[in-house]
C-alpha cells in the first residue's frame, strides 16, 4: 500500500519567508532571556520546596491513616501532587536546562534525577534531543504515538489499531513505565539503521540504566516506605500505587493534549532536510497545541499547557511561557500560521477523537480536518 496519497503532512514555509519568522521569534526569546534572573531562581526553588514538603508530609499523613482514613486520602493527594510537580514543573523543565544559568549543582540539567520510572539520563537524550529536534517527523520523533498508537495516516492501518483506545487507556495508567520502556524498545528498532552519529549511550548502558532506575523506584514506593510503615504496610503500598497512577494519568493526558489534538500536523523526513531555523520554528508551531487555564493549572502541567512556546523555546524558564504566548500568538497571526489552543475539555475531547478516528482505516477521498487546515 502506498501511503503517500494518505499523507497529511504539511508544507513548511519557504526559506525566504522563514527569515522574518525566525527574526520575530528570536527577538522574543532574547527579550525574555534578558529578564531571566533572580525571579526565576526563586521560583524554581519555591517549586522544589513545595514538591519536597508535600512529598514528606504526604508520606507521613498516609501512615496516619490508622487514626482516620481521611489522613490517608490527604496523604495520597499530597504525594501525587509532589510527584506531579517533581516530574513536570521541576524535573522536566530543569532537565531541559532552563535553570542551568543558576550554576546550582542540584538544579541542573546534567545531574537532576526525577521521581519517575524513566532514567533521567536516557530521557534527556530521547526527549531533549530526538523529540525536540524532530518534533512530529514521522519515523524520527518516537514520541509520536509512542510506537503504540496510530495517530495519523502516515502510518498504514493495521488490525491491531482497532483496539488502540484500550491501548491508549492502558498507556495512560502506566505512562511512566510506557515512556521508560519505549525508549529502550525504540532503540533496538532504530539501531538497525546506519547512524553516523556517535551514540552517547550504548544499548547496554540504556538497559542497565533502565533496570537500575526501575529497581530504585519500585524499592522506594513498594518496599521501603510500606515496610517502615509497619502495620500500615498495605495502605501505604496502595497509597503509593494510587499516587503514581494519578501522576501517570495526569502527565499522559497533558502531553497528549500538547501533541495529539485534532489539528496537530505531521511531517516527513525529506521535508525537514536542510530545514532553516525559521522552518524549524514553523514546524514546532504546527506540531504542538496549547491548553488554556488558570495559573495553578499551568503550574501543575509544568507549563506544558504552553506546549507551543515550550517547543519554540525549550530552554527558557517555563513559568514565562504564559506571558510569551501573547506575543507568539501575534507573531503566528502576522505570518498566517495556525495557533492551536483551547480549554482543557475541548482539547482533550479532540485527542480522544483523534485516537478513535485513526483506529480505523481512512479512505483516500476522506479528507480530514488536517489537510483542510492547510
Amino acid at each position: 500500500m502506498n501511503n503517500t496519497q494518505f499523507n497529511q503532512t504539511t508544507d513548511l514555509i519557504s526559506p525566504e519567508k522563514s527569515k522574518s519568522l525566525e527574526k520575530d521569534l528570536t527577538e522574543l526569546r532574547e527579550r525574555t532571556m534578558s529578564k531571566v534572573g533572580q525571579v526565576d531562581a526563586n521560583y524554581i526553588r519555591r517549586m522544589v520546596r513545595i514538591d519536597r514538603w508535600s512529598g514528606i508530609v504526604g508520606r507521613i499523613s498516609m501512615v496516619l491513616g490508622f487514626i482516620h482514613p481521611l489522613f490517608w486520602v490527604l496523604g495520597v493527594a499530597l504525594l501525587a501532587l509532589s510527584k506531579i510537580l517533581n516530574n513536570m514543573e521541576v524535573g522536566h523543565n530543569v532537565m531541559h536546562g532552563q535553570y542551568d544559568f543558576m550554576n546550582d549543582p542540584h538544579i541542573n540539567s546534567r545531574t537532576f534525577d526525577w521521581d519517575n520510572a524513566g532514567d533521567s539520563d536516557s530521557w534527556r537524550h530521547y526527549h531533549n534531543y530526538e523529540h525536540h529536534t524532530y518534533t512530529n517527523i514521522i519515523g524520527k520523533d518516537r514520541d509520536f504515538g509512542y510506537g503504540l498508537l496510530r495517530l495519523s495516516n502516515d502510518l498504514p492501518w493495521r488490525l491491531k489499531n482497532t483496539f488502540q483506545f484500550g491501548v491508549y487507556m492502558l498507556l495512560s495508567i502506566l505512562f511512566e513505565w510506557g515512556v521508560a520502556y519505549h525508549e529502550l524498545a525504540g532503540d533496538r528498532v532504530f539501531s538497525k539503521k546506519k547512524n553516523s552519529r556517535k551514540k552517547r549511550l550504548s544499548a547496554e548502558d540504556l538497559k542497565r540504566a533502565f533496570f537500575s532506575k526501575a529497581g530504585r523506584q519500585i524499592f522506594k514506593d513498594y518496599v521501603f516506605f510500606p515496610l517502615i510503615a509497619g502495620p500500615m504496610f498495605l495502605p501505604v503500598l496502595l497509597g503509593n500505587l494510587l499516587a503514581n497512577i494519578i501522576r501517570n494519568l495526569w502527565t499522559s493526558t497533558i502531553i497528549f493534549c500538547g501533541h495529539f489534538t485534532e489539528d496537530v500536523h505531521t511531517f516527513t523526513q525529506e521535508q525537514c532536510e536542510n530545514e532553516t531555523k525559521g522552518q524549524w520554528y514553523h514546524r514546532q508551531m504546527l506540531g504542538s497545541s496549547n491548553i488554556e487555564g488558570k495559573r495553578w493549572f499551568h503550574i501543575l502541567t509544568g507549563h506544558l499547557s504552553c506546549q507551543i512556546e515550550h517547543h519554540l523555546f525549550p530552554d527558557v524558564p517555563a513559568h514565562r511561557y504564559v506571558d510569551m504566548s501573547k506575543e507568539v500568538q501575534e507573531i503566528a497571526k502576522k505570518h498566517g500560521i495556525p495557533y492551536n489552543t483551547g480549554g482543557f475539555a475541548k482539547q482533550y475531547a479532540t485527542v480522544l477523537k483523534r485516537v478513535i478516528k485513526y483506529s480505523f482505516p481512512q479512505k483516500p477521498d476522506n479528507t480530514n480536518g488536517m489537510t483542510a487546515a492547510n
Binding site: 514538603w53 542551568d100 542540584h106 541542573n108
Partner: protein, 386 residues
C-alpha cells in the same frame, strides 16, 4: 606488598559503601545526597546550614579607595584555615546565578586564628562587568560560600632573606604574609618594592607594620613605594637601589602578567635562579584583553584545554569553530544532539575563559559556568571540563 593490598581492599570496601549509600539516597529521594535533598527545606530556617563548600558571613564591606573594596568574612568552624599568600574561591548569588571568583586573603593568619576572621581586597575593574558585578552581590550580614584556601604562593620554611615585589592589588597576598607571625622573627632582611599608579593601597598599614617591627627590635621591613606614573616600571637600577643584595634573596612577585614576566626575566638575567623566584599572577585579568580580541576572534590563535577525568587535550583554534567542533577534531567524542543550542546534550563546564554565544554573539562571563559546546566559540584561552 601486603599492606598495599590491604589498603586496596579497604579502598574498595569504602567505594562500595559510598556507592550503596548513593544508590539508597537516589532511590529514596532521587538525590545522590540526603543532605542536599533537605538543604532547601532547612536553609530558610537556618541560613548557616549548607552542604557544599563552606559558608562565611560577610561582616563588613568597606571601600579603601574609589575602586578598591575590602570585605571582611567570619568563617565557619569547619573552614580549614590558610597559609598567608593563599587565595580562596568565593561564590555568591547574583541575579539568581551562582558566580565564583578567586581572591587572595589580605589579612593576617593570626587574626584568623584568634577571631575566625579573614579579609579580602578586591579591585573593581572597569573593563569587565566581572568584579563590580560580584561586589553587588555581596552585602553585609549575608552569607557567601568560600572554598578551602588554595595556591602555592606561600612563604617557604627557609629563613632566607626576602624580597617582595608587588604591583597594584598584587599587594594583597603579600600583606597577609608580612603581617602574619611567620615572618616576624626569623628573617633578617625584608624588602618590599611596591609599584602602583599614584595610589598605594595599604600604605598606612605597611608603614605601621614596619614601625611595629622596629619597636619590637626585629629586623626591619624596608618599604619602597614606587609610583609608576613618575618612576616607571622595574629596572635594574631601581632594583639595585632598593635592594643591593637581591641576588641572594628569595623573591616573591605578585602582579599583572606583564610585570611578572619582566621582573622574572630581569632577575634571571642577573643570575637569580628559578627556584628562588615565586610568583602569582594578579590584577586586571586577561578579561579585557579577551574582550578586545572578540572582534578578531576568528583570526587570533586561541588555546582550548579539554580536561576529562583521564587526560587533558590541548587544541589551538584559528577559526570560529565551536567548542563542539574543536572537541571533535581532537577526537574526544563529545556528546551532542541537535547541534543548534536546543537540546543541552552538549553541556560542559567551562572552568575559565570567555566564549561567545554564536546565537546571540554575546561574550560569556570569565568564571566557571555551564555552557553548551555547540554554540560556544572560544574568544580567548579557555579551560573546559568534559
Amino acid at each position: 606488598m601486603n599492606t598495599s593490598l590491604k589498603l586496596d581492599k579497604k579502598d574498595i570496601n569504602h567505594k562500595l559503601k559510598d556507592k550503596a549509600i548513593k544508590n539508597l539516597n537516589l532511590s529514596l529521594v532521587n538525590n545522590s545526597s540526603l543532605k542536599s535533598y533537605f538543604e532547601p527545606l532547612i536553609q530558610p530556617f537556618a541560613p548557616k546550614w549548607s552542604t557544599s563548600l563552606f559558608r562565611a558571613k560577610v561582616t563588613k564591606v568597606s571601600r579603601l579607595t574609589n575602586n578598591v573594596i575590602s570585605i571582611r568574612l567570619k568563617t565557619s568552624k569547619q573552614w580549614t584555615g590558610f597559609k598567608p599568600g593563599q587565595y580562596i574561591e568565593l561564590t555568591t548569588e547574583i541575579e539568581g546565578a551562582a558566580v565564583t571568583r578567586c581572591f587572595s586573603i589580605s589579612s593576617s593568619k593570626d587574626v584568623w586564628k584568634s577571631k575566625r576572621r579573614i579579609e579580602l581586597t578586591i579591585r573593581e575593574q572597569d573593563q569587565g562587568r566581572v568584579t563590580p558585578w560580584l561586589i553587588s552581590g555581596i552585602k553585609e550580614k549575608t552569607y557567601v560560600q568560600i572554598s578551602k584556601a588554595q595556591g602555592e604562593f606561600t612563604l617557604g620554611n627557609a629563613p632566607a632573606n626576602k624580597l617582595f615585589i608587588a604591583a597594584g592589588t598584587g599587594i594583597t597576598p603579600i600583606i597577609s604574609m608580612l603581617s602574619s607571625k611567620v615572618v616576624r622573627s626569623d628573617i633578617k632582611n625584608i624588602d618590599l618594592i611596591y609599584f602602583a599608579r599614584s595610589e598605594h593601597i595599604f600604605k598606612d598599614r605597611l608603614v605601621s607594620l614596619a614601625n611595629l617591627r622596629k619597636k619590637q627590635n626585629l629586623p626591619p621591613i624596608n618599604l619602597h613605594f614606587i609610583d609608576t606614573n613618575e618612576d616607571g616600571r622595574i629596572s635594574l637600577n631601581l632594583l639595585k637601589n632598593a635592594c643591593s643584595d637581591f641576588q641572594d634573596r628569595e623573591a616573591y612577585l605578585c602582579g599583572p602578567g606583564g610585570m611578572i614576566n619582566e621582573t622574572r626575566d630581569l632577575l634571571e638575567s642577573q643570575g637569580v635562579s628559578q627556584h628562588q623566584i615565586h610568583h602569582e599572577y594578579f590584577g586586571p585579568t586577561q578579561n579585557h584583553k579577551m574582550l578586545e580580541t572578540l572582534s578578531k576572534a576568528n583570526v587570533e590563535p586561541r588555546e582550548v584545554a579539554f580536561h576529562s577525568k583521564q587526560s587533558t587535550t590541548q587544541v589551538t583554534s584559528n577559526s570560529n569553530a565551536t567548542l563542539l567542533e574543536l572537541a571533535e577534531t581532537a577526537e574526544l567524542n563529545p556528546s551532542y544532539g541537535c547541534r543548534m543550542g536546543v537540546c543541552h546534550q552538549c553541556k560542559c563546564t567551562k572552568k575559565s575563559g570567555v566564549v561567545i554565544n554564536s546565537l546571540t554573539g554575546r561574550p560569556s562571563d570569565t568564571g566557571e559556568e555551564e555552557i553548551q559546546m555547540c554554540i560556544s566559540i572560544p574568544a580567548g584561552n579557555v579551560q573546559i571540563e568534559i
